[in-house]
Symmetry: C2
Subunit: 333 residues, 2 copies
């Protein structure tokens, strides 16, 4: 299979190449595309050193599969043309996620939505990590309300975000100076920024609304009552999420734990006595989303449940989910 | 007034001395007490250099006011005897907070509870920051449900916590090695730890239950439906809190903002267009709790409200609130 990674020099693009190799995706030829700035440079991959090309439809139309890790604007400009040229496209941007004719897929939840589509949208990282745990709970107990607060890592802003956090943390510790910022709206080192993406008219950010909009679409629950507070914190990788749900039918922590223990893509890490619970340092590099701190929340009577999730947003939140979609495309096609 | 700070060498103890000076508390003589290990050492204060004494009832019984920034065990062993000796005692530990005969006070909320009591409990830092914003909303709209997720700084674990975060962050950045930990249950540098204090039988931590128990007592709402997820993150100072409430009567963001703008102890920082919202870097060293990201949460119909709080937990969350209580004691006595 001729596979192209578009946006190969970014954090997600590099992770896509790693995941393709790790999952032994049947790549016969790997093509890497990036901006003209990076074109001509070489990148080491498990398929040897590959020269990065500037993207053009002509250069990409012979691919069987294109994995897009590019901006929404770039995806809007090029993804449909590529799909129409016969290439299966999995787009990691937000460009098509809410388009009616484009499936938005987390394979553990709604693989069937892929059908014969040639353009599939990969969800927002926070959403992918959330729904992989929510869906099995929904199946078992129903879902009435979902309230999420996130603890999102710098890598959500790409390699530049991680570099800025490292550089500015050094500046604070070594020079004692105030942290600077270019990628983030404010200094992130030893700070918390309750804004990810732009503000909407309803005073939620786009990131917060993506969690609501995309979760509803993926789970097929257009009326689900769900809200999010999305917060950037000074970690490098892995998004954490504090989740409170009200179920339709009574739920107990034991029953929820049993359901999640059997759920694909979820690893229950929930042993308070041993101080085991989801954390970025343990979830980093892991395919599965860690779920723990599972407890009955009396705010919703016997239908209340709290849980804490940690997922590597470069993996389940991006590259892994994209390749999982591609695996289903292959099976389908 | 002869004032003693017991536990003067800790993060809160030092802050107490600063706050006494900043608020021009009528100190005629300042006595500093700490463990025998620190006794004999000198500490610079706005009242000159003071030699730290080992605590004894004999040495402290001539005080008019004792501010305790010590462990719960120490407070349990000594606070009642000190109050019975005629000293007004404000205790920062959790030892007496839920005792029926001891008022638990945030002056903006329940100053009247002080009455003629000589032993007053200062609440948990997260609780103090929360209720100063919740109470005016309760008065205006009523409160049915409260769901809180916290972003708590290393200083909640005292000066040792801050030192560990700094040291281990350096280790990660300069040596590339894994972060260590002694104060915290796990490495905190570039990580998130969803455990503060010990686990209770209901799988919530004590910190989480303190927020519920203490908020109910301070606000006089014994049946309030309130839950918390308490999370330690790698910041030095200031606790942030993502708060979702269901009110009893319909609420709008505009009405809530107007109420909070007039509330004592709260500063509304809520201008998304200018990227202004509460953050640790702006709330550090500030007396007022910053409140922002105020928005209607449709999960609770027209009774839902989200807000984000940042409060300096060494100030409103500890030293400032204790001195504010002492100011009322002085007026009362």
């Amino acid at each position: 299979m001729r596979v192209g990674v578009i946006g190969a020099t970014g954090a997600v693009g590099k992770e896509l190449v790693e995941v393709l190799a790790k999952r032994r995706f049947p790549v016969t030829e790997l093509c890497l595309f990036a901006s003209t700035r990076s074109a001509g440079t070489k990148q080491k991959t498990p398929w040897g050193e590959i020269t990065i090309e500037a993207y053009s439809l002509e250069a990409a139309r012979n691919l069987d599969l294109a994995l897009l890790a590019v901006s929404g604007d770039f995806a809007k400009a090029h993804a449909r043309a590529l799909a129409e040229a016969g290439v299966a496209v999995v787009d990691n941007s937000s460009a098509f996620r809410l388009e009616q004719d484009v499936p938005l897929v987390v394979p553990e939840v709604n693989a069937a939505a892929i059908g014969n589509h040639r353009l599939i949208a990969n969800p927002n990282c926070t959403t992918a990590i959330l729904v992989v745990a929510l869906e099995p709970l929904r199946q078992a107990f129903g879902l009435r309300r979902v309230i999420v607060s996130t603890y999102q890592a710098a890598s959500g802003a790409g390699a530049e975000g991680m570099a800025e956090l490292e550089r500015e943390t050094r500046r604070v510790l070594l020079e004692g100076g105030p942290a600077g910022h270019e990628v983030f709206a404010h200094p992130l080192a030893f700070n918390v920024i309750p804004q990810i993406d732009s503000f909407q008219p309803n005073a939620y950010t786009r990131e917060e609304m993506k969690v609501a909009w995309e979760s509803r679409k993926i789970m097929g629950l257009p009326d689900l009552l769900i809200s999010c507070t999305a917060v950037r914190i000074p970690t490098f990788r892995v998004h954490a999420e504090a989740v409170t749900i009200e179920t339709e039918r009574p739920v107990t922590p034991e029953a929820a734990r049993a359901v999640l223990a059997k759920a694909a893509g979820v690893k229950v890490v929930d042993d308070p006595a041993a101080q085991l619970y989801p954390m970025p340092i343990t979830a980093t590099g892991q395919d599965d989303v860690e779920a723990g701190r599972i407890r009955a929340n009396p705010v919703f009577g016997d239908c209340g449940l709290d849980l804490f999730l940690c997922g590597d947003q470069l993996l389940k939140g991006a590259a892994l989910n994209a390749v999982q979609i591609a695996e289903r495309l292959r099976l389908a096609g």
